[in-house]
């Protein structure tokens, strides 16, 4: 069990009010709040040893470099990577996926090759592949989903074949909450010689993720959804795959020797980090890893699952509410998407906001999935370590208020 009251005290923002009501933050799938322990590392860096990495021959630069590289090792440990050479710092999940699209896929894929995706992908794990398909002639194939929003295994196996070069799949859907069987998917993909990229944006913050156990070739995730600041993300890649790839961005920091005509690249992982990186962000991400590991990743997952299950149960009690994704009793991510008959998700969100409750309304950067669900938009409540069942009670109470407002429409 998490000590949620204790945790909440670490998050200064949770003490604030919104429209005169205590903030109930149910939008962590968009971005999480940040604890003091993480914020403190930012202050410390900028006030005490702000300096560029890898180049200065002075005390501050040495400390900044040491902390930045220690952060890389910390992140490697956090996801079970073999070492820091597997960890490339990016801005976010999107940039990490684009790195693979540009530096791995574009030079290798040709007409006749296939990229296997699911309809539940976030646009960030969809558009980069559409661009790859457009420039290489490779074809995008889509796995079918079961009615409750899980991958149809028969369809997956049927689509997987010698033409499949890459499977790009989200670990946890940011709308349905579905946890995909990534380990089994990787094993099946490897049997046909395809690589697998896992979008870990919604899994790494919420559950134990071990890249060597999954055996995935790439894993992308963002710091800002796991207590760290915006602007820092991670691409994990298998060493042999990263070694074969040309750089993504060119510039300072990533070079060995440069002449007017050509250059050699630094070794991994710096080959992929051109320019001054988000030093403070990386150091703060390491602090976020510390925070989550101290709570226990399994505990974090259980807490999120409990809240999601409680939310499913409470929301079901409300007339006219439709829930999406796997039902109660199925392992899922810490979020619940729903619609209410007669009340558009935006209107729900505005009414909830007046009660200090922050949820997300819209298509959550997953338009194809909403087309599949046959709704233009959904409302989504998402949970993290600082949320309580009381927060969900507030949500439900406020939804009843929304119904009152729209009574006229519903009559």
């Amino acid at each position: 069990m998490l000590d949620v009251e204790g945790i909440r005290n670490d998050f200064p923002i949770l003490a604030r009010q919104v429209h005169g009501k205590p903030l109930v933050y149910l939008d962590s799938a968009a971005t999480s709040q940040k604890p003091r322990q993480v914020l403190e590392t930012l202050r410390e860096y900028y006030e005490e040893y702000n300096s560029n990495v890898h180049r200065g021959i002075h005390a501050l630069a040495e400390k900044a470099t040491e902390r930045y590289e220690a952060a890389r090792e910390r992140v490697a440990r956090f996801i079970g990577a073999a070492g820091p050479q597997n960890i490339i710092f990016t801005r976010n999940t999107t940039e990490a996926i684009n790195l693979v699209a540009y530096a791995w896929a574009r030079p290798r894929l040709h007409e006749g090759d296939e990229i296997l995706l699911t309809p539940m992908e976030h646009h960030s794990n969809l558009i980069p592949w559409q661009l790859v398909a457009r420039s290489t002639g490779a074809r995008l194939r889509y796995v079918q989903l079961t009615p409750d929003g899980r991958i149809d295994w028969t369809s997956f196996l049927a689509l997987l074949g010698p033409k499949t070069r890459l499977v790009a799949v989200t670990h946890v859907s940011n709308v349905l909450g579905t946890i995909n069987p990534v380990r089994e998917m990787v094993a099946a993909a490897h049997r046909v010689g395809a690589l697998v990229l896992v979008d870990g944006a919604q899994s790494v913050p919420h559950m134990p993720v071990d890249v060597r156990e999954l055996d995935c070739d790439f894993l992308a995730f963002s710091g800002h959804k796991m207590l760290a600041p915006t602007g820092i993300g991670v691409l994990y890649g298998k060493e042999e795959v990263l070694e074969e790839m040309e750089p993504f961005l060119g510039g300072g920091e990533m070079i060995g020797e440069v002449t007017l005509e050509s250059a050699t690249w630094r070794e991994l992982p710096w080959k992929f980090e051109a320019g001054t990186p988000n030093i403070a962000g990386a150091i703060a991400l390491a602090a976020a890893c510390d925070y989550l590991d101290a709570l226990g990743r399994e505990e974090v997952y259980r807490h999120g699952l409990e809240l999601a299950e409680y939310a499913l149960r409470r929301l079901q009690e409300i007339d006219g509410v439709t829930l999406y994704g796997p039902g109660p009793g199925v392992a899922r991510g810490a979020l619940v998407a729903f619609t209410m008959k007669g009340i558009h998700p935006h209107d729900i969100s505005t009414i909830l906001d007046q009660d200090g409750i922050a949820i997300r309304a819209g298509h959550h950067c997953a338009q194809p999935l909403h087309r599949w669900l046959n709704v233009p938009a959904t409302a989504r409540a998402s949970f993290y370590i600082y949320n309580t069942c009381g927060d969900i009670d507030s949500l439900v109470q406020s939804l009843y208020r929304a119904r009152e407002y729209f009574e006229y429409v519903l009559r």
Binding site: H346, H370, P376
Partner: protein, 144 residues
């Protein structure tokens, strides 16, 4: 700022029973609007003859504010000249910026409260963006 400022009965009435909802086969302007951030959609069609909007119709899906605004707009511009419609459009935009408007806005006045909910202003303006495009089509049919 309270919800009563936003969700006036009249708005919900237009949301529940949208006026001029449907397709207009004889229309001479037709535009499709989509707010990519939220997915609200509106199709707006006008039948214009001799510089006057004879009929206006819309269809679409979205929140109460976007759909009610579209419904009220079609009522407000029907029978108006292209110039008058443009003047109403400009007044409505002023209203959304929280400015006072001299014109009697009719049902549209019920949307005044939206100005105090900044994230919802673009919902209210979606249909009017469509009107702007439609009027430009009429003034400059070649689209030049």
């Amino acid at each position: 700022m309270s919800l009563d400022d936003l969700y006036r009965e009249l708005i919900l009435d237009h949301y529940r029973n949208p006026r001029n909802f449907g397709r207009l086969p004889e229309a001479n302007t037709s535009v499709h609007l989509k707010n990519p951030t939220c997915g609200d959609e509106i199709d707006l069609q006008l039948l214009v003859a001799d510089g006057r909007i004879v009929r206006a119709a819309f269809s679409g899906q979205g929140c109460s504010i976007s759909q009610a605004s579209a419904s009220m707009m079609t009522e407000a511009i029907t029978g108006k000249s292209v110039e008058e419609a443009r003047a109403i459009l400009e007044d409505f935009e002023r209203m959304m910026h929280g400015e006072a408007v001299l014109r009697d806005m009719g049902d549209l006045a019920s949307l005044e409260g939206v100005a105090r909910f900044p994230v919802r202003i673009k919902c209210a303006l979606l249909a009017w963006e469509g009107l702007d495009k439609s009027l430009k089509q009429i003034v400059n049919p070649a689209g030049k």
